[in-house]
Symmetry: C2
Subunit: 607 residues, 2 copies
Amino acid sequence: MRRRSWWGWGYEGEGLSEGEMEALAALAGSQFGVTGSRLVAPALGDVDLPAPRIEAPGALGGILSSEVYERASHAYGKSYRDVVRALHGQIDHPPDLVARPRTEMEVVSLLDWCGEAGIAAIPYGGGSSVVGGVEPDVGEGYAGTVSIDLGKLNEVREVDEVSLAARIQAGVLGPDLERQLRPYGLTLRHFPQSFECSTLGGWIATRAAGHFATGPTHIDDLVESLRVVTPAGVVETRRLPASGAGPSPDRMFVGSEGALGIITEAWVRVRPRPRWRFSASARFESFLAGAACVRALAQSGLMPSNCRLVDPVEAMINGAGSGSSALLLIGFESADHPVGPWAALAEQCVRDHGGVPEASPWNAGEPGTGTGGGWLAAGAGSAVGGRTERSAVGGETETGRPAAKGSGAGGAWRSSFMRAPYMRDALVTMGVMCETFETAVTWDRFESLHEAVGEAVGRALSRGPAADAGRGAGRPGASGASGAMVTCRVTHAYPDGLAPYYTVLAPAVVGGELAQWDEVKAAASEAVLAAGGTITHHHAVGRDHRPWYDRQRPELFGQVLRAVKETLDPAGICNPGVLIGGSEEGYTHSSGQGHSLAVWPGTRPLS
Amino acid sequence: MRRRSWWGWGYEGEGLSEGEMEALAALAGSQFGVTGSRLVAPALGDVDLPAPRIEAPGALGGILSSEVYERASHAYGKSYRDVVRALHGQIDHPPDLVARPRTEMEVVSLLDWCGEAGIAAIPYGGGSSVVGGVEPDVGEGYAGTVSIDLGKLNEVREVDEVSLAARIQAGVLGPDLERQLRPYGLTLRHFPQSFECSTLGGWIATRAAGHFATGPTHIDDLVESLRVVTPAGVVETRRLPASGAGPSPDRMFVGSEGALGIITEAWVRVRPRPRWRFSASARFESFLAGAACVRALAQSGLMPSNCRLVDPVEAMINGAGSGSSALLLIGFESADHPVGPWAALAEQCVRDHGGVPEASPWNAGEPGTGTGGGWLAAGAGSAVGGRTERSAVGGETETGRPAAKGSGAGGAWRSSFMRAPYMRDALVTMGVMCETFETAVTWDRFESLHEAVGEAVGRALSRGPAADAGRGAGRPGASGASGAMVTCRVTHAYPDGLAPYYTVLAPAVVGGELAQWDEVKAAASEAVLAAGGTITHHHAVGRDHRPWYDRQRPELFGQVLRAVKETLDPAGICNPGVLIGGSEEGYTHSSGQGHSLAVWPGTRPLS
């Protein structure tokens, strides 16, 4: 039985091998000058958690736990802030108890109990939040906190093969969801980078963006109806392909991040597994030249399933080139028909925009390619994403069967995709700050946003304790004096705009990791907001984005959200501090403790 | 200067010619046995409205009117209930005053005044509501009512040619909007049947569905951001191509039907005018056989711009065939590339499903084709929609110029399209009940819904005063003993479901028109709800759909809406009775007056 890591990504014992660690350490040393000993997560026995402030009532005793493993592993999501704190053994706000309800009725009972006892209820899906969405940092006024892990609500309950829809429980992890749909020849085709350790309910609660680089790609568009347990009762919306009957009830809960209740199941739109795929790549002289082509493709109506642009340095890091050109990945897929005509038109568009198609197309149509932090880590292989498969139109999925797990190039790719977040954690143990942020902005504002973000992050990296870390890293795609880097890729493209995704890499400031990152994050967020972007395209708001979210959303809509919350959650127990409530004006981490990192006893400090 | 008809569709003096009326009367006589004299709308001088209960304050005197023409023409939308009441000179709830604000600031001032004086404010766009959405039937407790006509807020204010978006004032009518976009080579491509007399703000407020038969077609997906004047203040959402930052603020106002405030402008996603078009038609043995093909096309990913299925009788009425086969209209269009490969795949799909492509494809890609009640009336021509143009790939729009108004086949079609609602009104004057209703439902439930709706409507038609009007009309597509008909077409298709659109035609019960229609409508609505459909796919809720909407939406979402309304409209002055408020349980017409129609003095009664 695999067990999830309590401090970092994925499953215990599935991190990098010692050989892989050594190779990565050598790279980190040469790029960032980090040569100290590695940070090792404290043993659970050494983690000293405060005693739970609340006790499980008899009726719910069977589903509530106060074990250290449970509490520690539900204390954080998987942001850099989270991983670095856990690695130092600093558990700021562990839940007092962790619940694992087995039925929706038990979710109802849990919320009833929390409401009566004044306990904050934090829904927990796969725990992959990178915005503080699952951290029980709820402020004063609660008797305690319970992390409600929906992992046991993990079944596909019903499949409507005529309408191509399935009723699925919210706590199912990505791979389990796909495994259960496979016998029907169906797929949800929603593959965020967090796919392995995130859930349907989490995707809906956070408006996750998925597989498709163009066209409807947010989970918003895949939800046909949903069920939400709120303290005021259960809401079930009607299964409908479309409706004009008043404001959409679904859209009030999609993106509600647990603040209005707990999503327990949804009917989602599924589709037949693709049989035809085409993938290729092209080179552009610059990132902006590539972006012009992405805009043309997004506005063409061709709707490529993949259309991801990687800046020169990020491409180089991923082993794809020398850093002199940007890389565009294009893919088409269909369960219905060959996609050759689409591919030919896209190739013409690429050439019209000065792109040079590469000679060896490789398949980039698999789960998650380019939707998250995967390429960087996967770049320990050769090509971007480790993908060297040459199947063009037709190919290995012709039979409708998925690429075999662990076999052939597809298996290799899948393996490297799944291992990517482990590699991020490994870098953190080596003293490398490694984090991402993302936004979306209309095309007319993209260039100025991109420039402003690069400058702001570069300045933040070169200030304060990080000293010269960021010098020269001001232009995205450039590398700073201490090897610090800000790179960018375009993960999703729309006719009216795009979603740029930034990765920041720099030598970490020992003992000052949170302050270092928080300064970068604040600078980036200010730049994004000033330049007309959104504080998040698909990472959600959580607690970390609150100050900027509160400024981004219309003030009256904030009042609307508060009124909605008061209606559904009158006691304010649902994920307090997330999205709404708490300090409305410029919410800040109570966890940051003045941005200094307290090193927990029993932890091996970063040398 | 054209002036809108106060009682029916469109503009004064632009109805049917006497010759056309005579030809139509002959048809109505032979089909429905209606042979009496025609109803003629009373002269305005004969319409006796109650004196306004409120007076314009000095500061707003310039934009408020109590003229009979203004009050009478803003008393109703354009449903059968509305037209028949107006024709009888029965004006149930005329607004006390009509406002025509010229600026957003004047909208603010109007709502301020209404709030202070306890006056109900009814936003009025093009007045094309068929669900009682603009009728000032607000119940007790108001000092009076003001219809706020946004017609003077009719400009495209800004065009972002890079992001393909435009900032447009809410009161602009469809043709004016397109006229202002044309110099940029752009189009909103949103063409509901009401296009000529409906506005951008109305489309957004009612979640209108548009041009495209597949893919994103609701205005919901075209809204990039919006501004709403609420009694609590002005809300402006951020221009973004996509966002994951909390529940969408836009989606709270899209579909709010004036109950939360008045939409004054929006950034909407526009697109280049199409250069390549393909249109064709095919025959199927039955409506359900055609529907199976529509499902395959909707699930194929080909996303035809047109994919509309007409049942045999409706096809026949439109002059397309003998009533023995269903008709499928397919179209593709693109501004970027030829659409031949798409068309070829669609043709194969049609053949695979037993469809027989017709030899002479004709262009069906123009505004509004099949999105409303147009085909029926337009059927006085020859082909469905009167469209006989043979442009296939390429064609008249190659240059990016629209089909010339009034010239050639395109002009003829446009002309018949615009005249369709006039013909509906003409039928009503001849004593024919002529109305439509629509829904959306998942594919798995379509057949049972379709059967249940046909039976329910047939039964309702054959009950009560309508006596034998409906006998035999139980199966959609069949014609009853008195010529009564229930026909169906599929206007929009989704991967997980479809939107069937029903037309009911029957000899009207003189003096009992409202009761006759209300019985049909109630029967249809009950059947739709019981069979899993939505009470509306794109006609909105208004006042007429309230009883079924209240049962369809989750009860807690009703409470959410009330909380939102209390936040934004604490005095409850915004379009009271629509969507929320009023009698929450089974709202019924106060206008129906026991479902008997009071014939107003000075009216020539239906013989």
